[in-house]
């Protein structure tokens, strides 16, 4: 089965050329063959997939035309889907079954998408490599000795390995864009507030956003159009009309100004990587875009700002995991000891580190110096972008400083945090931002070419323009077609 797009599948199912049940079965077979090696999925939801597919086929037969009819979808395991284990890749939720479905997921399912399973992630979405998962290991389909990126590593890998046509992940500081870059797929994070967070297990409330992974920008636009819009269950969703983005896809960039950030100079990058990005910028210009230098003077403060705000919010969001009402309980002599033993056993190191630093940043005597100060820095960063966007329509930069690295390469936590250098500032400002494949490099020791991602970011609520620009770039450069993932060793038997 060749990799096909969500748009093609939906058209085909709606036209009666194929059925959702067939597509689901084929994809499940693909998962069975490949996921042993890739490990994208924590749980494959066969029954749910079959039931959903049957329902979609019935609706289509009754005359409905569904935007995502029969499209095989993988869902990051920090999103609630009724009746499915929803673990956040953590021991503390290893046996928790969600009693409700996240709004964004429900919208996709209502539009005809078929839920194949829940994908792996860094525990509670904290990480940039998927190595922090307590429940499984996901490998990069381009090189199984390397990480797929994180935190939405499983969702990115599933699409890259052909184990799902599209998937959804969540992005707080880069957790969609970076794994998309590492896995050679499109990954898109919309403006904060565009897609409901109801049912997305919270990491950092003021930063988290759900977004799609796909093989094409058009598919990402399609999923975005279905998911976006105000949700009465999430008070942070914006009350603003969603202009459909699909009609905004364009073929060239004439009249578009692309900002190249002075502070994101390519000079420090590996020469092969640098060359790839220089080519990407040139390709944008070749499409008719005017390249403009813009400044983000506070870019260097992004990581410091983010690693105070996000942990502070997460320290509060993760307090509910206390062994009392659901999830893991390590029973001790009394409630206080039970809290401590449960959370010690249930959380991995990275989660503990972030809870600790976050608690500290909010604590008496440090709140002003850390949390408040970081929120002020955030204001400055957002102001920088606003100023930059006076001179350009979108900003282009690398999604990551390097291609996917090997497992255990970044043992030191701060070195891992620096992986988010290019993606964090946009998150702090709430901007829509995506990664689109922009080339390949073959570092010494790599088994083959490794993908790179070009990050494009736009002003608040400018998803339509952003996706349009990304589509033009993708269609003209066709990077996704230049290489295939290596053959994945087939595993026998179902997962």
């Amino acid at each position: 089965m060749e990799a096909t797009t969500a748009r093609d599948i939906a058209r085909s199912v709606n036209a009666g050329e194929t059925s959702a049940v067939e597509r689901a079965a084929a994809m499940l077979e693909r998962i069975d063959e490949r996921d042993g090696a890739v490990g994208a999925y924590l749980a494959v939801t066969r029954e749910l997939a079959r039931e959903s597919a049957e329902r979609v086929d019935a609706r289509v037969a009754a005359g409905e035309r569904l935007p995502l009819a029969g499209v095989p979808l993988a869902i990051k395991d920090n999103m609630c889907v009724t009746g499915t284990p929803t673990t956040c890749a953590s021991k503390i939720l290893a046996n928790w079954v969600a009693p409700y479905t996240a709004t964004a997921v429900r919208r996709l399912l209502d539009a005809g998408a078929i839920p194949l399973g829940k994908t792996n992630l860094d525990e509670f979405a904290m990480g940039s490599s998927c190595e922090n998962s307590a429940l499984g290991r996901t490998a990069n389909p381009w090189d199984l000795s390397r990480v797929p990126g994180g935190s939405s590593g499983g969702s990115a890998a599933a699409v890259a390995a052909g184990e799902a046509t599209v998937s959804i992940g969540s992005d707080t500081g880069g957790s969609i864009r970076e794994p998309a870059a590492f896995c050679g797929v499109v990954g898109f994070k919309p403006t904060y507030g565009r897609i409901s967070r109801y049912g997305l297990i919270a990491f950092a409330s003021s930063l988290d956003q759900i977004g799609p992974f796909s093989n094409t920008v058009a598919d990402a636009a399609l999923l975005y159009d279905v998911m976006a819009g105000r949700d009465p269950m999430d008070a942070t969703t914006v009350d603003r009309a969603v202009e459909p983005s699909l009609p905004g896809l364009r073929e060239d960039l004439r009249g578009v100004r692309i900002g190249i950030v002075k502070e994101f100079g390519l000079g420090d990058l590996d020469p092969e990587v640098r060359a790839a990005y220089e080519r990407a910028y040139a390709d944008l210009a070749a499409l008719g875009a005017e390249l403009v230098e813009v400044a983000l003077p506070t870019a260097d403060y992004g990581i410091a700002t983010y690693y105070l705000i996000a942990p502070a919010e997460c320290s509060s969001n993760l307090a509910r995991f206390d062994g009392m009402r659901y999830g893991l309980r390590v029973e001790a002599a009394d409630v206080g000891s039970t809290y401590e033993a449960t959370r010690a056993a249930g959380f991995g190191d990275e989660v503990k580190r972030r809870i600790l630093i976050g608690t500290y940043a909010l604590s008496s005597g440090y709140y002003d110096a850390y949390y408040v100060r970081a929120q002020k820095a955030r204001t400055l960063i957002a102001a920088d972008f606003a100023k930059a966007f006076e001179a350009c329509d979108a900003i282009a930069c690398p999604a990551a400083a390097s291609p996917a690295f090997a497992f255990d390469a970044k043992a030191d936590p701060v070195s891992m945090y620096l992986m988010d250098y290019y993606t964090i500032p946009m998150s702090l400002a709430g901007l829509p931002s995506l990664s689109v494949p922009c080339g390949y490099v073959t570092p010494p020791g790599a088994a083959g070419p490794l993908p790179l991602g070009l990050e494009l970011s736009a002003p608040l609520f400018a998803e339509r323009a952003l996706l349009g620009i990304a589509h033009a770039y993708e269609r003209s450069t066709r990077h996704a077609e230049r290489h295939r993932i290596p053959a994945i060793p087939v595993s026998a038997g179902a997962r």
Binding site: G199, A202, A235, T236, A319, T359
Partner: protein, 501 residues
């Protein structure tokens, strides 16, 4: 704003020959009377089967998000406006972080530094007839916790329990926290303050305010200081009072306890003490060595509340005539007693009824006597409210006029009330058509008197011999002879004249 404490009669104690006064502030938590909880659509209802009014939001499940209840916000603003509070243009929700098994998220959504209302004054009448008041610091909005019961201990308390059982029906119920300034100076004032709060909140429809159901909980902060001192003494916080009477007793007990400590030269320890209803004392509640660090920060899941001036004006216009203002008017203008005024105000619908009737009669005292007397009795007996009965304000006005003009006597009036209650109609018309008018014509009375005197020679002789009590019997005979229509005062007068007494 200066404290206007008009009540000088505070609770004072003498310690070592020096007068000390009790200084108190009160913190109340009031459950709001909304259909649904503060941040989710689960029902807000007391007494439901455990854990049946719960959802991902109020259980603190992963991925759930809060969305605030619009009505709850309005009710708090109305409560504040009722006491003259200021409504800041900008208000927000903050997270108060701490762990406890009845806390679904292990943080409570509350308000820290930008509450919905600021300031205000609560006026109240004291039983001795004096007037008092207490300033409000603020009223803010937060969510209630679940309810835990402790198993395995003899008395259901935490100490000695083996485990606890938690019901989350109450988790997320909207809670209004009213914080007062330390303006209360006596147990009586504390109770009067609480009653004033309750009266207003019930009238506004903000809450049922039933301490026994937990819809009102209060903590009292109490300290003693020398009368005339400006500095406050060390305060203790008293919790666990479940009725206004408990509040009074707990305050009296704590004043005595602190006085005894100071008397013996000791120092009062700042601590939280729980009231033990059965023992009639407070006991220290064990608390952590470190004070809570709640790590307040603005809740990123919620938007701020911004009021435009016309929002506040609209809510202010919605306020009905408030109970305290009414009570003041009844006491000062209508000359009702405080008890009468409070009774009128506290019964739903009665104040409007009283206002209508007394406007027609122009005579508040007899009007209120009928209402609180015969009419209230009939209301209790029949289960129908006075204001919903067939005795309309107009009918009552007629009745009062008939009595005041001495057209009917009080016995006839009583019978008429019962009759109109049961059948409706106009008392004046009934009196006219059935000739129930009190006979006040001296000649007619004299005729009856003569009749009675001649029929009761022995009794009359007894009376002349000094047995004055029998006059009542003789008057009764005149009444009987007149089939109850004689004017009894006149009857007695004419009897005396006839007997020559």
């Amino acid at each position: 704003m200066s404290a206007t404490l008009e009540n000088a009669a505070g609770d004072t104690v003498e310690i070592g020959g020096v007068r000390y006064e009790a200084v108190m502030g009160i913190e109340c938590h009031v459950e709001l009377k909304t259909e649904t909880k503060m941040f989710c659509g689960c029902r807000n209802v007391f007494g439901a089967e455990p854990n049946t009014n719960v959802c991902p939001v109020c259980l603190g499940m992963p991925g759930a998000l809060p969305v605030p209840n619009e009505l709850a916000i309005e009710l708090v603003v109305k409560a504040g406006l009722a006491f003259g509070a200021e409504i800041p243009a900008f208000s927000k929700f903050d997270r108060k972080n701490y762990f406890y098994p009845d806390m679904p998220k292990d943080y409570q959504i509350s308000q820290f530094d930008m509450p919905l209302t600021q300031g205000g004054v609560v006026p109240f009448w004291l039983p001795d007839g004096s007037h008092g008041s207490c300033r409000l610091t603020r009223i803010h909005l937060e969510e209630d916790t679940g309810k835990s019961s402790h198993a395995g201990s003899r008395d259901g308390r935490i100490a000695g329990s083996t485990h606890s059982l938690v019901d989350f029906n109450r988790a997320g119920v909207p809670l209004m926290e009213c914080v007062s300034e330390p303006d209360i100076r006596s147990a009586a004032a504390a109770v009067a303050y609480l009653e004033a709060l309750k009266r207003t909140f019930v009238a506004l429809g903000v809450s049922d305010v039933k301490m026994e159901e937990g819809s009102l909980r209060c903590d009292v902060n109490l300290s003693l200081r020398k009368v005339g001192d400006a500095e406050y003494g060390t305060k203790t916080e008293i919790k666990n009072m479940n009725s206004f009477n408990s509040v009074r007793r707990a305050i009296e007990s704590e004043i005595a306890r602190q006085a005894a400590i100071l008397e013996s030269g000791g120092r009062v320890i700042q601590e939280t003490r729980g009231w033990d209803e059965a023992a009639g004392t407070t006991h220290p509640m064990r608390s952590k060595e470190q004070a809570h660090d709640y790590r307040y920060f603005p809740d990123p899941d919620l938007t701020p509340i911004e009021f435009a001036p016309n929002d506040v004006a609209r809510l202010r216009a919605d306020l009905i005539a408030l109970p305290q203002a009414r009570i003041d008017r009844y006491v000062s203008q209508d000359k009702l007693s405080i008890v009468q005024a409070q009774q009128i105000v506290d019964s739903p619908g009665l104040a409007a009824y009283y206002d209508a009737a007394s406007a027609l009669t122009g005579k508040p005292q007899p009007t209120v006597n009928f209402i609180l007397g015969d009419l209230s009795r009939l209301a209790n007996e029949t289960g129908t409210a006075v204001s919903a009965s067939r005795v309309t304000a107009e009918a009552l006005a007629e009745l009062v006029a008939l009595v005041e003009a001495k057209t009917i006597n009080s016995k006839t009036a009583k019978e008429l009330v019962a009759r109109v209650w049961a059948e409706g109609g106009s008392p004046a018309a009934i009196v006219e058509s059935e000739g129930l008018g009190q006979v006040s014509d001296a000649g007619a009375i004299d005729a009856l008197v003569a009749q009675v005197v001649s029929a009761n020679e022995k009794t009359v002789a007894d009376y002349r011999a000094g047995k004055t009590k029998v006059m009542g019997f003789l008057v009764g005979q005149v009444m009987k002879a007149s089939r109850g229509t004689a004017n009894p005062t006149l009857a007695e007068e004419r009897l005396r004249a006839a007997i020559g007494a």
